[in-house]
Symmetry: D2
Subunit: 491 residues, 4 copies
């Protein structure tokens, strides 16, 4: 059942991007957890702009929750809302869209989810995607569970409700052992903050310390910076931490697997000022530009980024190549995408609302245009059009990731395979289709090198999940296979 | 867990009234069920002003739901909302407040409730109260159910989810056989509209016909009038009807009990233009006035109602006594109760926002003031003050119901027993407390006579539930007894 | 120029009524004038539901204003709004619609209007209508005034701005001497509250006292009751009062004219609990019913009002005729008029949203139906239909005013003459058109008698303005004549 | 009089910046002027974020207006609002805050302003500031004009109303000849679009062509790009253009003065993709960086901009110096500044909501930080703190404008003189105060060179208005002098 509510305002990311689906944040042992969580979620807003929610617990008020469509800054800043969220412990979530209900989201799909068990309540927030959620849901419904959302993540709370364990962390282990896929979860009871990463550690999760006894869990380190928290360490793949009374207890409840962190977190999803696996995201991206300049040099007058995601790689490319760096495309700070089109049709109006060509700089120049990825290719084409209209002499596209050929089933919103330009075109076909003078993607090895794996990709045991480029899925996407998806091997 | 949302605007009923907690309405076999339901709920708005909800089913859109705080006219009139509710079948609900969460209501407590079962979805809307809901909830949680609301009514859907029956009507029978208390329920599957009344038939439910093949279920007949539906019959106590493809199938799934319809529906809850048990509510109320004039005559110049609920009884009293009828108190049509009080304190400001004395009419007259009931007595006192301030010579209170001495546990919002004036004062003490020249309540026998039971109340087998007056509860309120409530016999 | 804003919510009066266009209220010498004004305007809400405004003055904050579409209770109750309106002096206004911009109202048309003059600011609020506003406006624009609204009332403030007088009351006299038509004005400077009535006193205005040194001005006495103010006296026709420092100074700045108070204030506009010219409005209306029973008797079983405006006259008719009084038509307390009509068309849906027939009471009875007036006749017809559908044996219409044949140009919203049923049909033609068994209006003499003029109407010097019935306009409507309106004499 | 309305949401510019106060846009001869204007104003949003308004004229609908607080994208994108603005001609305005009512803005202060004259209506929108507005207003009020706003710009419409000229362009000339200060005005009648620049041309205004017969006027060329309009030319200082029926008529109604375009438009106000006086704003800013690197070199490891306004100059500095360019500070794309501060105080929380240091890049490096200007210095200090906290070895501030020592009276929001850091500190004092290793501003001559004046500033006839740096005001700010402001010469 769906319950339609007002859709959130337009968000500034382009339709032609892969989209991270979630960010999670939790706090415990601080005077007012909700205000820390609101700030943390604000810093994680790039991981999900559609909706956000916060749950807190206070001995007097009990569990309290507020879930809203739209930006954190628009919902979790008013005294009126924040006063309803008292207490020293809480968790929060921002989301783009769940596996369940794309484009038709209900407020009931907005996390955190809450369940009341015989031993008390618990709330959970999940970043990732459960690849056997359809099967689990069917089984749970047959046994009498009532689902309130269309989210895959709700399975976890129902599995916990049916566990025979006597405390919530143990119930959570029970539940997560039934779950396949990618998950970084923060959860809470009345007194405990819990963090878990799936055995392969596909999505990030870090631990920070604030004040004397306060701890926070966050998808990325940039959210530690905003609240002045000290970075402690990453939660390890397959690890569960239970934080209570200023103590962090660690366990490893799952069968061990090789780590497969998502390489696209380095390429695009995470914020450039975050540090993943001990590496600066900004530096990795800049290094991708350096590698690109080595792999794919070209004579030109100017290196321009597609703002803002292409900027660090463009800086690296310019640095390595010695070709001047410049802002050939200017971003409108006051995004918008819903204006009514004047009757005299305006070419590429959607893009113009966000970007404008710096005509004076571009005219008669040979431009190297650096972007992070090509998904459908629609935006790339429009930007190239705008450059040529403005008088660019040549346009050379350099892409800071390999061709995106496979959908992600681990918590990223990707188009169906047949919508991915690289899934049905060769690089040369894409070049012709986009109408540019040259087009080159970084190699998978080059990408691994930029990410610090000096020897490149080990085909037998790749360090990262790179399924979107390679088609090699570390976890079998069983629900999708039931729906007819064909693995690379099966093609 | 509670999730606070904006509270609805002030509603026009006084705090010093008993409040019906719900109205239900369902439609099937019509072109656009939601528009019929919206109109029906509008006509039932007096049964619940806090919130309302509608669920519909359409083969293309599936189950759709909209639930909102506030009046039906403010929420279910816009094209935008109604377009999200397509289909030929649906149910709706208006509520005042559930047993679960008084004054702290969350949108998740607003009905209808929905559950997805192995054989498809179902939605239910409930008028009444489940007296063993606390025990049922505890049991269900222990077995792994996740409750989403604090409403007693949610138990029904979880009991249905766990039933082993193969179709929804049978699961509903299973569930309702576990439930104690008062219930008039409308429910729906993708194709069936279902109506049930508890074995004693405490709350009303009627069947109407609209167009060729359309049927509606409604708490009261006034909602049939608004949509031009034909009254077919009342659903009988203990009866379940399943309506599909223009056919009404009836069954009696419960152990039979003596009927005990709520007599307060006649006195106050139902709309005067409704017909209950074949009797006009208006006529019963007018007849109460006639009985009161016989039981409790007094010399006076004018009979005045406390508008609007005292009006029919005042008309009856004036008719029987021959004393002229007049509007001594004028109601402000534009209710309001949240104005900021000026610093120069205004006596009885709360009442003044709603009522004003017709000073010219009242001055120097002996007034018989007719009201429907005395609950806390706070409003009665203020109205009397206003009459005396305006120069009334005498004030004689006549009350169209017996003293309200016991709380209701069957779907009516009553104060705790120790807040009920009549629970701790004799009639003479109340007269002194209210400061009126005389005070008389109709007798329980007189009330039964006015309601058509010529021989008065049969103490061994009363025709009505009159627990609020008599303390004789037809269904043992077991949850309340667990919480310490003492039955009359136990005092 | 118009600036469209959200239209206010549906108001409960029918389209088929004459509508008072304004109510005014002012306060001075109290601790927080705005809260008194909000309560006063709430009590005057029946005089205008479209919008309301309040201006106050405080030595620190200066002049402050808040103007809003919608009900007083929805706009002037929040702490947030009221805090912006500090100070011991202020005025307020509720309006239905001005002469200028029917159905297309802008917030800039909402009064009070404010002007800054060389000697300080002043604000005014106007009830009535200026019949030479078009000519005045043209003249003022030619001389360089910039109008901000389409309201006739704005002329007053521009005339004041151009006066050569040295203080505001004198400038106001200058301005109002140029103005023709009907006006009851409240105005304010930083320290003075001013009240004025036009020389004929067409619209009401009364003076009240609150606390030691506080005074209020109000359109009706019912607004004194709500704030516990003492009625002092009516402002006389042609009188100006200037209230400051607890003193009331009176003057008579206009050439004297015979008083011509609007008789429709007695019939319909004013609230029944108000006292006009020393007479209870309720009593006048009840007496109209008595007169009607004498003038137009008929054999019948029941006297029913069209609620609520027909109620006092129906009580009077029943009293005089000895025929029982009953509520044959029940009003829905939760008005609404914007529901989406179900596809199976519902007869008279608009009326059903507001009224329902008490079927059990009506069936097989001969009904005398008492209404206050017939304007277009559309509603009368629908109500009659509903009664007949419900099984009434006969329907006899009795109207508590004479046939409405002429538009009002003095501050009342009337349809064009050719939309007034009585302007182009005889009473018998109307009876046939409405489809009732009999139809009778009270005579003009009968109406005068009910209003306390024992000898009836003096054709040479009528005590009231009754132009809507008689076509005799006490002030020549010069703008309308310029637009082509023909006086009775000219026909 | 002030009328408080909801303040707009937080805007992303820092409090510690000079703020342009307005942007204007007009269109004529297109099918739906309002949609062009909405897009144009969106592109000019950086010139004013507080509020915006659009007026259009259509022969059927007449003049229509919509004025709203908040961003263009939030107000002028809905079908509902845009449908109220039909017609082939219109003007629009975005504003930060007028001279009249800082921080206490009323919707009535939002432009365009409208006046109805004897020969028809006209609307105007004004970018700039009238330096004799107080005196003009006093005079106009004394003669009977009623002001509706606290805006200096409203004087223009009142002066027009009192002109004896027979058509609107001539009345506008009359009015503007009385006005001192800076103004770029767009205005409209029913058929004519009018553009005017003051004799010194302080604020920009350009003419564009769209389609066959359409013309637009815009503050900047970036707004031509968004609608695909062709740049025609700049309106010249002292020029008025009247556009009608596809024809542009030019006149020069004012006494000629030397041109004094605002140099801060180049430094900060205008968008980098705009072209002013034939020069790319981006290129000028980049060139400022080049000049700075020559004037103020320093040994360092990295050149970082303060995003986004310092970016082009930082690129230029890095290019010229050969020191690598990097993003040491990352901007949060989802601005916000109203979060509730957690009880454990967070250092520099206001800045953290918008910016974060790229810790991995900064650590142990010597940083050259390039910003556009220093106003109060508060933000500079916080950014420096964040860099040092993150482990920077040295911080060298380079500022792309000379010290800001004087307030602007020509349409820019500047703090009072005593709040400008450079007004009371030497550069060395500022360096110590800010706590940086070195601090250097570009010289005034360097700035002129970067702006294309190869020979630097001519002290006798400077090409630009640079009063904020030099204290040499090309127009005497007479209102301010009346209020006690002292010119440089008078100090």
């Amino acid at each position: 059942m769906t319950e339609m509510l007002e859709m959130p305002p337009a968000h500034p990311f382009d339709d032609d991007k892969l989209k991270e689906e979630c960010g999670v944040f939790g706090a415990v042992g601080v005077a007012d957890a909700a205000s820390f969580i609101a700030l943390g979620l604000h810093a994680l807003q790039h991981r999900g702009q559609e909706a956000g929610g916060i749950v807190t617990y206070d001995t007097e008020a009990g569990f309290q929750s507020a879930r809203r469509f739209g930006y954190v800054r628009d919902n979790f800043t008013s005294q009126k809302v924040m006063e309803t969220l008292p207490g020293p412990i809480g968790i929060g979530h921002v989301r783009y869209s769940t596996a369940g209900s794309k484009g038709n989201t209900a407020i009931r799909d907005v996390q955190p989810f809450f369940g009341e068990f015989a031993m008390g309540g618990a709330a959970i927030a999940h970043n990732g995607n459960i690849t056997n959620a359809v099967a689990l849901r069917r089984e749970l419904i047959e046994r009498g569970s009532i689902f309130q959302s269309s989210s895959d993540s709700e399975c976890i709370i129902h599995l916990m409700a049916r566990s025979l364990q006597r405390n919530i962390p143990e119930r959570m282990k029970d539940a997560l052992r039934r779950v396949e896929g990618a998950f970084s979860v923060v959860a809470m009871t009345r007194t405990k903050l819990i963090g878990v990463r799936d055995p392969r550690g596909v999505r990030p999760l870090v631990l920070g310390k604030v004040g004397d006894k306060g701890y926070v869990l966050s998808s990325e380190t940039c959210a530690l910076d905003i609240i002045g928290a000290e970075f402690v360490r990453e939660i390890e793949p397959g690890e569960m931490v239970v934080i209570s009374d200023g103590k962090v207890q660690s366990s490893k409840p799952f069968e061990p697997k090789p780590s497969r962190f998502c390489i696209f977190e380095h390429v695009y999803f995470s914020r450039p000022d975050s540090i993943l696996e001990g590496r600066s995201v900004y530096e990795t991206r800049r290094q991708i530009g350096v590698e690109l300049a080595i792999e794919a040099p070209v004579e030109a007058d100017l290196v321009c980024p597609v703002p803002d995601s292409g900027t660090p790689a463009a800086i690296g490319y310019a640095f390595q190549s010695g070709i001047p760096y410049g802002m050939g495309i200017i971003r409108n700070q006051y995004m918008g995408r819903t204006f009514i089109e004047p009757s005299e049709q305006i070419r590429n109006m959607g893009v113009r609302l966000k970007l404008n060509v710096n005509r004076a700089l571009i005219r008669d120049k040979r431009i190297i245009l650096v972007d992070d990825s090509v998904v459908r290719g629609t935006t790339s084409q429009k930007i190239k059009d705008m450059l040529l209209d403005a008088g660019a002499a040549e346009v050379h596209f350099r892409i800071a990731s390999p061709p995106t050929m496979w959908p992600c089933f681990y918590g990223v919103d990707t188009p169906d395979r047949d919508k991915l330009l690289a899934a049905y075109m060769s690089v040369e076909q894409m070049r012709v289709h986009l109408g540019v003078d040259s087009l080159q993607f970084i190699s998978l090895d080059g990408l691994y090198r930029a990410a610090g794996v000096a020897e490149g990709r080990d085909a037998n045991a790749p360090r990262y999940c790179d399924a979107c480029f390679s088609g090699e899925y570390p976890v079998v996407p069983s629900d999708m296979i039931d729906k007819g998806f064909k693995l690379k091997a099966a093609e």
